[in-house]
Symmetry: C2
Subunit: 349 residues, 2 copies
């Protein structure tokens, strides 16, 4: 169907391998007359030749494709940002990206596809740690480099996350600076690694910046669904004025939005009577009716750096490098919007 080197060879009278050399700018193409080279290029152009990467892959044994395996495509908005970062880096380094959705397939099924298709490396991304171990082990056996992104697992390998600890600690510092002392934190119940890190950031921040504030006040959400958090938050905001927190930090923007919703229903004004801080900086933060102060995670950069590390590993592929451990924690940044202010009673106003 498509034009092949053989077709060009037939038309120019030059053998396929010389044609190949010319069209790939292989050094050996220099052995041919400049005029011949020109003629080959011209004919290739005219006939609409595009090289067959599949055939090329077969003979070179390389396949410049990385796999992005995720359980969260279409679930969380940030997954798209991570992908965008991966794509940027991959494109720049001449790698293509294939996507695999864990939800539509079992891990072993995906692992089979990945090996059959001879992907050069795997980037894994999931909000559940469980699936990963299987993929990581299998990839290890098959010598396929593997990295994780936004997955703060404790297991070995290469991976990129954000500095969750620092993020919440910074938030506490900022609130303390505004004069807040009764700060509560909403954490996440199953306590995956990232939730633990954020929680520890809160505890450390309170100890450091609000000394003498006693036992840190932490409540546990059990998930993102809107209604699940309502009792928890309502309870938190129903305390007497003297005990009620003047600020709440949430482990996620969505939870912070829930707080805003319930505060609104309870006629508690934000930020005058209550400051609220989220985590992630999703669109909901910008578009909340009172725009949300939040800890912004650099999702695109996470994607870029993960792809970068993975492709490095692929390119220096040696078995010892497959066992390398490198975890990068990218710094996060507090974005101050309108949901935070100095507390009413104690302070300047």
């Amino acid at each position: 169907m498509a034009v092949t080197l053989k077709d060009i060879s037939a038309k120019t009278g030059i053998n396929t391998c010389s044609v190949s050399h010319v069209l790939n700018n292989h050094p050996r193409a220099m052995e041919l007359k400049a005029e011949t080279r020109e003629r080959i290029r011209l004919v290739a152009q005219e006939m609409g030749y595009t090289r067959n990467e599949i055939a090329r892959s077969m003979v070179t044994g390389r396949n410049d494709v990385i796999a992005f395996v995720s359980s969260d495509i279409g679930t969380w908005e940030y997954t798209g940002k991570i992908m965008s970062g991966i794509m940027e880096e991959a494109t720049q380094r001449k790698f293509a990206v294939k996507v695999y959705h864990l939800t539509h397939s079992t891990p072993d099924n995906i692992m089979r596809q990945l090996t059959e298709q001879r992907v050069a490396g795997i980037i894994f991304h999931s909000d559940k740690n469980v699936d990963f171990d299987f993929i990581r082990n299998e990839a290890g056996k098959k010598q396929i480099p593997c990295a994780t992104v936004n997955l703060s697992s404790t297991s070995a390998g290469i991976g990129v996350t954000t500095d969750d600890f620092q993020g919440v600690r910074d938030a506490v510092k900022y609130l303390a600076g505004l004069g807040h002392r009764r700060i509560s934190y909403i954490s996440y119940k199953p306590r995956p690694q990232f939730a633990v890190n954020r929680e520890n950031g809160f505890i450390a921040g309170m100890k450091e910046f609000v000394p003498g504030s006693g036992k840190p006040r932490i409540a546990y959400s059990i998930g993102m669904e809107n209604d699940k958090n309502e009792p928890l938050i309502r309870n938190m905001l129903s305390e007497s004025d003297a005990k009620r927190p003047t600020a709440i930090i949430c482990y996620a923007d969505y939870i912070a939005c829930n707080v805003l919703q319930i505060a609104y229903q309870m006629r508690i004004e934000v930020p005058e009577e209550l400051s609220v801080i989220g985590f992630a900086d999703l669109e909901v933060a910008k578009y909340a009716t009172v725009p949300l102060t939040t800890v912004a995670q650099p999702f695109e950069q996470m994607g870029r750096e993960t792809a970068n590390m993975l492709i490095d590993t692929i390119k220096n592929k040696r078995s010892d490098i497959l066992d390398k451990v490198e975890n990068r924690k990218l710094p996060v940044r507090l974005v101050v919007r309108k949901s935070t202010a100095a507390p009413r009673k104690c302070g300047s106003s």
Copy 2:
């Protein structure tokens, strides 16, 4: 490196092609003794054989990969949902999905990659119509089936969108049913096809359900950035009580959120004094402080149906089918939340 058919052949003493037949459950495998088949399978298992799809692709001339080409990865939250739908359908039909980001590359560069990598079909997705024509033409020349998703272009080909007209018309109908008569609409200035369709839905709805309401009130936003719409909206809400709209329908959820923000700043209560309706049903709609009534688009379904149509085309590949025109408009659904209610003055309350 990896185990090949030849290795299995060597170990079992059976030639590669018979081994191939067995491992692919090819009918001709039946020519072998059951015992031999078992032995081959066992050895393959033991040696950890996984077939090389690259080699297979080369000899069969097929490559079960579809390309998702988008300019919006990481830009709009719904892109992930569309992808998820595509992946679901593709996985089920044994196709892999490669992703290409228009932003990190030029259209002709991407088109070259697509042909070099011999993808079987292309799904195109962009908020700008421009890029598409080039890709569509080139794909046409190369006989690569091509479909669009969420791109209401007027050009030929296969594509899936939502029924934008119906969506806004339904929204008007619903508001009219609540007793609203002064309904304004915020449209989008460059007026791409989808914006025109939604606008026409508004005009038709007003004519049908709010007869005698005069010239439809339409304002034009010039984009999504928060600050760009503020003067427009502020202006709209600053009219005297007798003239101010009691309801605003927006062409997008983000704009509706802007309306909520500004209404809040202006102390106009939603929904008591103002009803607001968005379009898309993104996360911001659920998490707005007053959860937003909006027209929900079935993004995942769009993805599924697009992939479905594309793969059908790939499988019956004949040149005449490449010119087929099929545009599906999926129905949308009004999701009523808390940003809409009967207007205060005229009506039940």
